[in-house]
Point group: C2
Chain length 180, copies 2
């Protein structure tokens, strides 16, 4: 098992569909969880769970109504990859220290106090690597990822994707009026 | 699940019992897997598996004979924490990219070539964090860990531990002579 699995990967991909939104966005730029899921051929329930975590972490905010959905809670520049990783994985440590140092055949039934004093040297090295990893993830943000996507994805596909989302939103609006 | 679990932690602790050994060591400084396991209240089979991986990776070397066992294959300064992590975990990536970018409702049955070109932007950010983490682990070595242990563990306990290992080795020698 790697440290970060598909949930982080899917969440970042999902957020990229919201990268044009941000604080102050209105319903025309919000994206529904169902549309984001269907566009990527994922289950709506799964994507809904990811958005629940990201909403709790204050990364996305929901907009009510037929044309509603989610948009970013702040500018894409202010959402780091680390923010997303922590929202989804919950500040998972790189290394789970089991305090192995307390197990020694020479100790009596009670482990001496000195054996648990301070941070274990091995754990300290791992915590340092954890900080290096987190610092690296904190340096990248959603706006940079979106800019990379805009460079590598052909313009025609970017336009087709926007049209697909807009058409889906508009269809929901029409459906409601026809039923009304 | 964290990236690194108990196998890495136990392996580093095990190696600390060999920290005084190194290339050119003889049988008087080698430590047997059974003794290392028992000293830490671990199963011999489990510790043997860790040593098999570390021997394959060239970190430890075995010495034959009754007073034999394992010693470090090179100086403790030249065995980094990253070496141990890789020996045990096999260069496990931080992030398992599933090429999510290939899933799009707008693609026909064949995914267009551009969607898989270059490294996915998200994967690239994760690879960068992976490199930062590995660079940090490469900076710490076994000699530093051993020096930390020598500082925090009371001298009386360090001496008792050495005596315990030496007595065990000597007892095996005596047992063999008595049986001979």
């Amino acid at each position: 098992m790697s440290q970060y699995g598909s949930a982080v990967e899917y969440s970042l991909h999902c957020l990229l569909y919201l990268a044009g939104t941000g604080a102050g966005s209105d319903a025309t730029t919000a994206r529904s969880v169902r549309d984001i899921a269907e566009f990527q051929k994922l289950s709506t329930d799964y994507v809904a769970k990811l958005f629940t975590r990201m909403e709790k972490a204050g990364l996305v905010t929901s907009i009510e109504g037929l044309r509603g959905g989610f948009c970013l809670a702040r500018a894409a520049e202010e959402i780091s990859v680390l923010d997303v990783v922590d929202a989804i994985e919950g500040q998972k440590p790189l290394f789970a220290c089991r305090e192995v140092r307390a197990n020694c055949i020479l100790f009596d039934e009670t482990t001496p106090a000195w054996s648990g004093r301070g941070v274990c040297g091995i754990h300290a090295v791992m915590l340092q690597a954890d900080r290096a990893m987190r610092a690296s993830l904190a340096q990248s943000n959603l706006a940079q990822l979106a800019s990379h996507v805009a460079q590598v994805v052909p313009r025609a596909h970017q336009k087709a994707a926007r049209n697909w989302f807009e058409e889906r939103g508009a269809a929901r609006g029409r459906g409601a009026r026809n039923r009304g």
